[in-house]
Symmetry: C2
Subunit: 677 residues, 2 copies
């Protein structure tokens, strides 16, 4: 074995170079100051780009004898870092991001991408950890002819760390105080000229092009950072789950049977004609069966699949932190999740504290018009139902008891600075909302004009303004109609209005790292599908009823079934739902009732779960955090695609490989399928 | 929030019980000795099985007021363990496996499965951590009527830890020195009577039945242990990769495009007619693109898919520790893998040490007749080619230079004790081997009889025996024919013969935890498919050539292409291949040559990888460990199915859900497919 404990980095430099392995070497200092090592290397490796173009052959440029010589004479360079040893097992001594003024005088070997070169003399070398400036000594510049080499080519550089000349330090760069005086330079792999995209922080190419050449785009600093943060955060979650709380990570299958009543699942044909697996949309059933199987503290960083290509910011495959435990209750699951988030929080200078506030769904809808309220700003909905109930025209199809009216007031001093475009975009939101109406009006001095006055009549309008202390110039946004519909509409209007104020710097900008975590609890167990009118589970059919409402859940349920609360809970962060969970039904009779009598779900697909519940099933509950979205928020990324190494594009296509693609007739034969156009 | 920091376990006992939540309570001590808590509990919870059958309704048995009372008066029980806190966030104070003599006197609350009960008085409670004996005080036995309750029902038990009476300690049980004197007993969920399988260590049901009811079988001690060891070992691997060596865990997609030239991949129809994803058989391409993308230290616990239902001990989905790093070489990858295995090794009393020995493939085949030699025993192949080359009849179709003869000698004192069945089973192995012949013969006193004499003639046979110092009674196993074929045959015969010796206790048994790790290196880059005669990659088409042989790899290759060694390496443990890897090709021209000119692979499927290699690709290499198999070996499990929570059966079916199953017409419509019978 060619291993040298004494000169770990040097040993690396001398093995396994085949590919574009031309070696460049030249002296950085007058010859009398050179070390024995450098002299020796000079004598055996000296080549120049001018005289000898890099060969893209497969020969090695160093022979075993030369290696021996180098190894014997090489100076020892102790690494200055301890753990993690990100340079161990490589042919570099340091990476491009770690050199500081304290390294001055050391000989280092760096590997990376040629980011930029100038005058055949200066170049910057980049890797995933940073960039560093390198200088080829004056008398060697012509020999190297570096400017002929395509950017993004792979170099290995050996040289000495030197302080930058006085006044030339670059404070914006972590390595900005030093530069490398190059003594040896190898081109390990030449890149082609004119790559389709650049690796730049600014002026990045359009997303589609970047996704198509993801292997280049990944070198971008932001993507590097995002993927590293993702890995770290998930590792901290694991440490918390396993090392602190004794959970067991269990890998569950993804090739399974269709779960009725959920999202559309991908199907996978098998070799048995007409028989298909479905790709799991979550490990829900497996984790419940694990509870029955006495793996009472389960978690998994689980790959899940949903064929929802039409929804924005979704991926056909995504990742969730999936947790389930036995002999627990809602309070304990909530406490556990708070602990996991706190312990895995990546910003130690800005830690989060718990317990997070709670809100019932009813309160969230009433105050914020949303099941995932963004509590970073006010402008809450004001309930005008009593005040205006008799004046407003009820939209068609709304029953009296379902009628609600809500308003949002934007003060005059802000309202007058808003662009007129806002009015139109709010109307757009309103237009898309069924069973409700919307009007917006700037309050005028005498109330005699404007939509509010026209709507209510002059005197009721004046009364309204008096009661609300509305002043001339205030903007009143008013919605009314069927409860949940008008709440949702006004919630969207609240967000749009605040965004408009924010865009004009009229209000404090919402901070992406604000700690507005919020538990939303007491969801109804069932809800009416807005399109079909059918009853469905608000969360999923395995969610347990709230103990206070459980008695109402029996075979003789009527319309009040919609009032039964469940033990589901959602976690919202800065207005985005990042996870959800529930205490599950552990009683087989209750589960049958929910599936069969209430939801009318064909439960032959679920016989194994029902069997499990009557085979000794402990009370249990759990949670799942959507990691793509959570990490995207943590990284302040524009979309979840910025925290996924190889995302699909919006239409579910893989921009790299162009998948999905046609398959061969042979494969169709194996899986007994024919394509129907 | 109903949270009590002071009485964490008690708080649990008072919330969220709905389901079969009947509560039993009785005093364990005379009333005057009862704590306030117990009195109070007695007054509100007292029910007996005799008077009141457990209601499988959905009412809670504790009201908020009672809870408050309980909480206020409850004695505090500090947990005796620190980390991991496996009882935190649950309604138990301890688990069923942790109580010892040091806990005597403590009041504890345990949750678990009713394993066994006797005389309405004694019962054992089991959870994933162990079992504990519980005793209902004499005067309460009749009330509880526990024997009516089905085994495997879920109980919560509160009681006091007491030492077992003198002479009744059970040394085979971890909790065998104590017992719980029960003061309160709740049935949280009744199991049905007569479950299809038992949770027993001995006499376990047939595997198919166990897989069908996996949620019961998982309670078995061995499966519990296996899944927990699996989780721990993989966590240690992660700690090593991330915390020690600065690797980044990156999740790569599983919905991708077919990789040409590998195993059969599952296909997944998309909503675009005739267009399919393929489920990845490994993240090979993604990890190489990550290297190009400057994520230079990647790993992943990766889910992989192969549709190879016909091969034994395989699963359609499996897990590998997948590693890749840039600027490395073979030596460094090997050192890294050794470190990972050492650091994640679960048996601290029997640690593994490195570096592991190495062997070229040529040597492994020559000495052991296998590319994954079991080096735990000798009986190596002896090369008789020179000795017998002229005497033996060449099998048809074998060229002179490919001819080899190997023998294995089993000494007389062992051979005479072997069963006659072995002879037949060795003949069976020989029959399945093409291009070679086999004979076995016990050496007789005068060499004049027996197959060897008949084969060689009396005098050459005598000469052979002289030269090998064979004694009368020795068993000679002799094979000859085409090199690789006869090596493989003799390798299988070596294993079968040793197994037979082992079965009769004639040789030391191979230890499953022996540390016979072995690196096999210097594989040929290409080999001839034994069936089709076509050239194919020995590892995969992305494997780099050995630098010493690289020059021979050019467009004018001839038959000597089979002599080119690659930089692939396999890791073998006790005769099982547990992983493999290689240094990859990073030069796009070389990769094109291999794909196009040598392997004639249609590489339109690989354009993204070829593009990546010319966009700034560093030298890189990696490794993958098959975790299912590795953990199965670590756990000394009979098959990989014993270390997978929910394995498929041998034919790729899911015994639990019965997947794959027919899909609906609607789903066929969505995915534009029709089934062809």
């Amino acid at each position: 074995m060619l291993r040298s404990k004494v000169y770990p980095f040097l040993n690396a430099a001398i093995t396994s170079r085949f590919g574009c392995g031309t070696t460049f070497f030249r002296k950085t200092t007058p010859l009398d100051k050179l070390s024995v090592h450098q002299c020796c290397a000079l004598s055996t490796h000296s080549r120049t780009l001018q005289n000898e173009q890099p060969k893209c052959g497969f020969n090695t440029s160093t022979t075993p004898n030369q290696l021996k010589e180098l190894k014997t004479e090489a100076p020892q360079h102790a690494p200055t870092f301890s753990a993690p040893s990100i340079n161990q097992f490589t042919t570099r001594s340091h990476n491009c991001g770690e050199l500081r003024i304290s390294h001055v005088g050391q000989e280092v070997t760096l590997c990376g991408w040629l980011e930029f070169s100038r005058m055949n003399k200066f170049f910057t070398l980049r890797d995933g950890y940073g960039t560093v400036q390198c200088i080829i000594p004056e008398d060697a510049c012509q020999k190297f002819n570096l400017d002929q080499l395509a950017f993004e080519s792979i170099l290995r550089v050996t040289g000495t760390v030197q302080p930058r000349p006085d006044g030339q330090a670059n404070r914006t760069l972590q390595t900005g105080e030093i530069e490398i005086h190059v003594s040896r330079l190898e081109v390990l792999n030449e890149a082609k000229k004119r790559l389709p995209i650049h690796v730049k922080d600014h002026n990045r190419a359009k997303e589609n092009l970047r996704l198509e050449h993801r292997y280049i785009d990944l070198r971008n600093r932001e993507l590097q950072q995002n993927l590293r943060v993702r890995s770290q955060v998930i590792m901290k979650m694991r440490e918390c789950m396993i090392n602190d709380y004794g959970f067991v990570e269990v890998e569950t299958p993804t090739l399974f049977r269709r779960t009725p009543g959920g999202a559309q699942e991908f199907v996978v044909p098998s070799r048995k004609p007409g028989h298909f697996y479905s790709l799991v949309q979550s490990p829900q059933q497996f984790k419940q069966m694990l509870m029955v199987g006495a793996i009472d503290r389960y978690f998994q960083i689980a790959r899940c699949y949903r064929d929802e290509s039409t929804r924005p910011d979704r991926q056909p495959e995504f990742t969730q932190l999936d947790i389930e435990l036995s002999f627990t209750d809602r309070e304990k699951v909530i406490e556990l999740i708070e602990q996991v988030l706190k312990k895995s929080w990546p910003y130690s200078d800005n830690p989060i504290r718990g317990p997070f506030p709670r809100m019932t769904l009813a309160e969230a809808m009433e105050r914020f018009g949303s099941d995932k309220p963004d509590t970073r700003f006010g402008y809450e909905l004001q309930n005008f139902t009593k005040l205006l109930g008799t004046q407003l025209t009820m939209p068609a199809g709304v029953r009296q008891q379902d009628f609600r009216a809500y308003g949002i007031v934007i003060p005059a001093e802000l309202a007058q600075k808003l662009a007129s475009g806002l009015k139109k975009s709010l109307e757009e939101i309103a237009k898309k909302s069924n069973f409700c109406k919307f009007t917006q009006s700037q309050i005028t001095a005498d109330w005699s004009t404007g939509p509010i006055a026209r709507l209510l009549g002059k005197e009721p309008a004046e009364a309204l303004c008096d009661q609300l202390s509305l002043r001339s110039g205030d903007l009143l946004l008013l919605g009314w109609g069927k409860r949940t519909f008008v709440q949702n509409m006004m919630g969207r209007i609240r967000l749009a209005a605040y965004e408009a104020l924010e865009a004009r710097n009229l209000v404090p900008a919402r901070q992406s790292h604000a700690h507005n975590f919020l538990w939303v609890v007491d969801f109804p167990m069932f809800s009416e599908n807005e399109e079909t009118g059918q009853i469905e589970s608000t969360h999923h059919p395995f969610t347990a009823p709230h103990p206070e409402d459980a008695a109402a859940l029996n075979a003789d349920f009527g319309d009040n079934i919609y009032n039964i609360r469940s033990l589901a809970y959602d976690l919202v962060w800065n207005g985005v739902e990042i996870g959800g969970g529930s205490i599950r039904i552990h009683n087989s009779q209750l589960q049958r009732l929910v599936l069969q009598d209430v939801l009318k779900i064909e439960h032959t697909h679920l016989h194994h779960l029902l069997d499990a519940l009557e085979s000794g099933a402990p009370p249990h509950g759990g949670f799942a955090i959507g990691l793509d979205r959570y990490v995207a928020l943590l990284c302040n990324a524009a979309s979840i695609r910025e925290v996924i190494a190889f995302p699909k594009s919006l239409d579910g296509k893989d921009p790299l490989s162009k998948a999905p693609v046609p398959i061969s007739d042979e494969e169709k034969r194996i899986y007994h399928i024919r394509v129907v156009e």
